[in-house]
Assembly symmetry: C2
């Protein structure tokens, strides 16, 4: 039997794994919109200022602010409207003292103007025909220089960094890039995650199992989690429980991928075999065998030459929880992300007490409800190897390492799948 490594707390275990993950260096150039969800391979700077011209934030009149100083309801300022800046055209008319031009929201203001009077704060003098310039207006409120104007470069300055390397592109980032003419982005290649199922009892989901056999579901639940994290699952099929088959399948799968996940059987002999196989794949091999969590303690965490390798417990709930804990952060790290995105945990109010053991992190599937007082989490108790506890759950309640349990009414952290 191989040497057993220490059982580490999950945060330490994950940190140890991530230390051994080398980010993918291969990149690909993508049209910006197709970069959604992808991670930038290099810092992106703006060649242009945004906006490239001073823009009005209101419908109204571009003015020289000084011409309105002291204006009020009793003593309005009188200005002469000399023209209109039509949308999409340059504001190339000069503005003399005492003059104003019509501008629309988002339109350019002349460089001789420095503020915009909102149309509601003005009034025509007499009943002129607006199409016949010049005409007179009264202005009832003073505007400060710069008021109701977005200055050149106020959104982003020319030469400024738009996004650092290692940014996962969201819709607003796509918008920010396109706004300054960045029409393609250099992204990290998506990680290929090889997934092997092992076990003499495991058959393809397309089969009708004989007595004693079960269908492989871990490949696909783990595969689904991969996709959500930006990885590409590469299904390696089902490998029998003998060490030579497993060695060969693991070596071949790892060679063609950036990460290897083995969903092993749960018996001790199969776990030991998985440890041996990972140890034999290269350096450093097995980093730890055992994590202080329930479910999932017998997880094997390793790395081979910068590629993360996981040996997951065979039971489908443990496998998903452990992949969520180690596999997803590893896929992010392979893409060069330094921090997980912020969408994987929420706070909720617990509806029932939960007992736990100190010194171990527990994860309990939970049903979430949206109530007038906020989100509540109701634990779904059941044997940890029933996939339907997860099907009926919206998240996992985390019982922290050094708690002996949680009480109804406590605010708890819920991890979402």
């Amino acid at each position: 039997m191989p040497e057993f490594f220490n059982v580490l707390p999950p945060d330490d275990a994950r940190a140890l794994l991530l230390q051994h993950v080398r980010s993918i260096q291969e990149t690909e150039l993508l049209p910006t919109f197709e970069g959604l969800g992808r991670v930038t391979a290099e810092e992106i700077r703006s060649a242009e200022a945004l906006p490239p011209f001073p823009r009005s934030t209101m419908d109204g009149y571009a003015v020289r602010a000084a011409d309105t100083f002291g204006a009020g309801d009793v003593l309005p300022a009188f200005l002469t409207v000399t023209g209109e800046v039509r949308m999409g055209t340059a504001a190339d008319m000069p503005l003399k003292t005492g003059e104003a031009v019509i501008v629309h929201t988002g339109g350019m203001i002349p460089d001789t103007a420095d503020a915009v009077v909102q149309i509601e704060h003005s009034q025509l003098v007499g009943t002129p025909n607006e199409s016949r310039f010049p005409y007179e207006i009264e202005v009832f409120r003073a505007v400060a220089p710069g008021q109701n104007v977005i200055q050149v470069g106020e959104d982003i300055a020319a030469g400024a960094t738009i996004l650092p390397a290692g940014t996962c592109l969201r819709p607003q980032d796509i918008g920010g890039l396109l706004a300054v003419g960045v029409s393609d982005v250099m992204a990290i290649r998506r990680p290929r995650v090889a997934i092997l199922a092992t076990g003499d009892e495991v058959v393809s989901p397309a089969s009708v199992p004989s007595p004693g056999q079960i269908r492989d579901i871990n490949s696909y639940s783990i595969g689904g989690l991969c996709i959500g994290a930006g990885g590409i699952p590469v299904f390696g099929g089902i490998v029998p429980d003998d060490i030579e088959s497993l060695r060969e399948a693991a070596a071949r799968a790892l060679a063609g991928a950036d990460m290897l996940v083995m969903s092993a059987g749960s018996s001790v002999s199969v776990r030991d075999m998985t440890v041996d196989v990972i140890a034999g794949l290269g350096r450093p091999g097995v980093l730890l065998h055992g994590v202080a969590t329930r479910p999932g303690k017998p997880t094997i965490v390793g790395a081979i030459d910068g590629k993360p390798v996981l040996g997951l417990p065979g039971n489908p709930v443990s496998a998903m929880i452990q992949f969520n804990m180690f596999g997803i952060p590893a896929i992010y790290r392979l893409q060069g992300l330094q921090q997980d995105p912020f969408h994987r945990k929420i706070s909720a109010r617990l509806t029932q007490n939960i007992a736990s053991e100190s010194g171990r992190e527990d994860y309990i599937p939970a049903h979430l409800d949206e109530t007038a007082e906020g989100i509540t989490a109701t634990p779904i108790f059941g044997k940890s190897n029933l996939i339907y506890t997860l099907v009926h759950a919206e998240g996992l309640i985390k019982v922290p390492l050094n708690h002996s349990g949680l009480m109804a009414g406590d605010m708890v952290e819920v991890q979402l799948f």
Copy 2:
């Protein structure tokens, strides 16, 4: 000028819109794994029990529980081991009183056994050769009937509902379906969301804008949000600000899609034109013009014959916030989802005071930090039309309708993009 509708609070406005959305009835049959993220069109029942045979949750011995009653360290029970159930094979050996068979975690137990003794709670008598049955063991702990066994159908019963219609398939759902041999699923067709940009100042992101022109970014930031909600963006391009062009483009876009989004200019005249165009497309037309939020008040919410139609403000931040508020729930509803998924809001501790006006919901872009005390949210103040306030943000702080502001230290709701 058309009649102005009441300005509604956002929750009421959204409820009004969703009342007018008709879910898509067209379905498509997909291989189960390809159904990830798709919504089920019909209830799915299990034809099989899971597990289909009683399974051990431990490495150990399948026994008749009654044979161990009263066993303890001082007075162990003696049992005769008559064989082994190998993984993936049927446990077809009968078990007489006083007999036991070796079973592995996940393996089948004989139907004449009703419990499993963990191997750690037993000891061989003498030093027999394990491969030579029968041999004797001592058992030091009693097991109850059913202990360490998953019963037939304990995960899911034959004939039970696996998932109701209108479920968005997650990785664990894929696993649950494959486990019972459901190899394809009937899913709602993905909604096609037509997106039109309007504005004489708007040019394609591939263009170099002249003075007074800006690039269309809303089509793509909104398109990105569509994809995240399961929709397919259909880019209709840029339409000039004249009513006939707009009418024609909107009618054509709506005919080929399940939803229409017009990212209109922000000036009053353009908004009025958008209202007229939506009103002219069919019934019921414009549902409301104005939502009590900042940014985004001038949003136009409508529906034509079950298809949602939105007229978004032209400024990119308002457009995204309003699409998040109305567009995403509408895309979910088109797919038959009755409730948004739970991943769009988190709680965080506010780091600075925020002033607001009562009677209006404010959304303020926020930078999130993960600290030892939990997630903190720091508001990013700035004119609401700067896309980079969103690029630098991880979420939006919501200031509820009837608050005059929020204080540093308050727990606040943060919506994530």
